[in-house]
């Protein structure tokens, strides 16, 4: 398995595409900012959202039972799965029980996590992803590179090629409207022919047993209303206590995700439609372990909006496929580490620790802080590369001893002015590979600070600000 750094380097070789990818995501981030600013109570909403999550997750058994009781009273059948394998097995058995050969599926990161599609196809069931982006990815034989915008890395010309090959659109067609129309016709046939529908769940309301699903395309709704069998799959963490809580989460979700005031369709399903069988599969698959880890449990608060991906300077410049875990970016990092510390050891290092992820998170997960803490875990477990470890050990040595630190600083300041650039800018110096050295100051920070403190005046105006004067 190649590391994030290697995969990102390969992605960045296509400079024009990398720049386009970065810009496309930044555009979504800016839309999010405008939307957040338009809601006067935004920060208070985030705090309430976190408080509701904290409460709900601390009382999950109670709320799951309440949800289950209410959903069952409406005629839905609730299943529990310990892990991905059991989840896949339950879904397969339900499909087999109704002789379903064709499934119209809506986007679900849980099913990606469980590898549901591959499993069902190995068992002779045709699964058609019905979200446009997911369908593009599926036809291309790829995996999503983003949790909300799965095909954000694919250019329209490439979509044209994929559709030409699989849907018979004209060669060279790259107009988004015409390509979308072609997909509509193609998927409409599948919707009408499907014997079963599967979708993820955005929120499950304990108070009523309602399953709430947000989409823009309307695909989940065709998939859950047309076939006689509908299966909703959800992680245990999706349960919220009350209907009123939806007003908090729905106001945050779409604004954070895509900068929309709300998704085009927000569906509340309480039991099956007449003549339908509705199943809800509630999955743990490691979530209970996340909740048991003191420093890291907040990762389970995530509502999968993707805002932290859109804002992350590393994600935007490296593409979701550079992360080896199914969920990329900052939130993917802190979820992946729970799954397999060794396998995903490079992920916490795919971060500048700038904290932008934490700043945009609608449920206020301290993502960048957790990334630092995971770096600790990687080092403690001995998974850090030798070169990095040696560098860190040297740094620790210097930082622990004041004299040594001062001497080191002095040496570097002097040396860098004399040494020719190639000494650092060569292939052996990993650090210098993608970085330029800053200009060396004449004095150390300590010396500058001492000089500053001795001065009566305040040349930088910092003191004035501190006291709140203009």
């Amino acid at each position: 398995m190649k590391s994030h750094a290697r995969l990102a380097a390969a992605f960045l070789k296509q400079e024009e595409r990398a720049h386009w990818h970065d810009q496309a995501l930044w555009y979504v981030r800016e839309k999010r900012d405008r939307m957040a600013a338009s809601v006067p109570d935004w920060e208070a909403l985030r705090e309430t959202a976190q408080a509701i999550k904290r409460h709900a997750l601390a009382n999950l058994p109670r709320y799951l039972e309440e949800f289950e009781r209410n959903a069952a009273a409406r005629g839905a059948i609730v299943h529990y799965a310990l892990d991905a394998a059991e989840h896949n097995h339950i879904v397969l058995e339900l499909l087999k029980g109704r002789n379903a050969r064709l499934v119209a599926k809506s986007k679900s990161m849980l099913s990606e996590e469980c590898g549901l599609n591959e499993f069902l196809e190995r068992n002779g069931i045709e699964v058609v992803e019905t979200d446009l982006a997911e369908r593009i990815i599926q036809l291309a034989g790829e995996r999503p590179s983003h949790i909300v915008l799965p095909s954000i890395h694919i250019r329209k010309e490439e979509v044209g090629d994929i559709f030409h090959e699989h849907l018979g659109t004209e060669k060279g067609e790259s107009d988004p409207t015409r390509l979308t129309r072609a997909a509509r016709t193609h998927l409409r046939e599948k919707f009408l022919a499907a014997e079963a529908g599967i979708s993820g769940v955005n929120f499950a309301v304990a108070e009523t047993g309602a399953v709430v699903i947000c989409t823009n395309e309307g695909n989940a709704d065709l998939g859950n209303s047309l076939p006689d069998l509908y299966i909703a799959v959800m992680g245990v963490e999706k349960v919220i206590p009350k209907t009123k809580d939806l007003s908090v989460f729905l106001r945050l979700l779409s604004r954070s995700a895509t900068g929309q005031p709300i998704s085009a369709y927000t569906s509340h399903l309480l039991g099956p439609r007449p003549g339908q069988e509705m199943h809800i599969v509630i999955v743990d698959n490691g979530r209970s372990e996340i909740l048991r880890r003191e420093q890291f449990h907040k990762a389970a608060f995530c509502i999968r909006c993707g805002a932290c991906l859109n804002t992350c300077p590393v994600y935007r410049r490296s593409c979701g496929h550079s992360y080896n875990f199914v969920i990329p970016g900052p939130i993917g990092t802190i979820l992946a580490m729970h799954r397999d510390l060794k396998k995903y050891k490079d992920m916490p290092y795919a971060s500048t620790l700038c904290g932008s992820c934490t700043a945009v998170c609608p449920v206020m997960i301290d993502i960048h802080r957790q990334i630092v803490l995971w770096r600790n875990e990687v080092v403690k477990a001995g998974y850090l590369g030798r070169a990095k470890l040696a560098a860190l050990k040297t740094a620790t040595l210097g930082m622990k001893r004041t004299r040594l630190f001062r001497m080191g600083g002095w040496t570097v300041r002097k040396l860098l002015r004399i040494l020719p650039p190639f000494v650092l800018d060569n292939r052996l110096t990993i650090w210098g590979k993608f970085r330029d050295l800053p200009k060396m100051p004449a004095q150390s920070f300590r010396a500058q600070y001492r000089a500053y403190s001795r001065r009566k005046t305040d040349p930088l105006g910092l003191g004035a600000n501190r006291e709140g004067r203009p």
């Binding site: 338009s38 059991e86 409409r188 309602a210 209907t243 569906s267």
Partner: protein, 198 residues
């Protein structure tokens, strides 16, 4: 399966969530909305829908008759007979699949939400909830007094006790999945007109 249920619920009893875990008392009314009707209209238009204010159902009928989509539609399914008679009766169809070619559906919404342009549609009176998403175009009819400022006031008014399915619909079906270009009309309605009566 019952074993997994017990195991999952047992595992979740232990957790590391510390500090105050009480359910928060909260209320976050959207204070930035001075004219709910105008806000509603501008949001609906910003998400690709259309919104018209009409004095009464008679004026609504005139507005629909002059509506281009209505003139073009071959199969029209109307649940608001005062506005249009329609020529397709979805209630008479045994199976939702028979509604696949409906061009236009006219139906009442219960609420409009000013902060996000969403219309609450209770689908329970419909024999086929799929109609809302199969229909090529959609006209939603709401009363002027049913526009509320925000989601909190909307949920306070919705009764879930007997509800089987309800939808917030905001704008036509849309996607930006191809290079972030907005395309209206993916799987669901290709256009949405909201008529606000009174």
């Amino acid at each position: 399966m019952t074993d997994s249920r017990r195991l999952v619920l047992n595992r979740l009893k232990e957790h590391a969530i510390a500090g105050d875990t009480s359910y928060p008392a909260y209320s976050h009314p959207h204070t930035g909305i001075s004219d709910p009707r105008r806000s509603f209209q501008s949001v609906i238009e910003s998400v690709g829908g259309e919104c018209r204010f009409v004095a009464d159902l008679e004026a609504a009928r005139k507005a629909v008759t002059g509506f281009e989509v209505f003139a073009m539609a071959k199969q029209v399914c109307s649940y608001v007979k005062e506005i249009a008679d329609g020529n397709f009766d979805a209630e008479a169809k045994a199976d939702a699949h028979q509604c696949a070619d409906v061009d236009l559906t006219i139906i009442r919404g219960e609420l409009g939400v000013a902060e996000n342009g969403a219309v609450w549609v209770n689908a329970d009176p419909l024999r086929h909830r799929a109609l809302l998403f199969l229909s090529g175009h959609l006209i939603l009819v709401i009363k002027g007094r049913d526009i509320v400022p925000d989601m909190e006031s909307a949920y306070a008014r919705i009764d879930f006790t007997r509800l089987r399915s309800g939808y917030f619909i905001s704008g036509p079906s849309k996607t930006a999945d191809i290079e972030q270009c907005l395309v209206i009309g993916v799987h669901g309605a290709k256009s949405l007109l909201v008529l606000i009566v009174g």
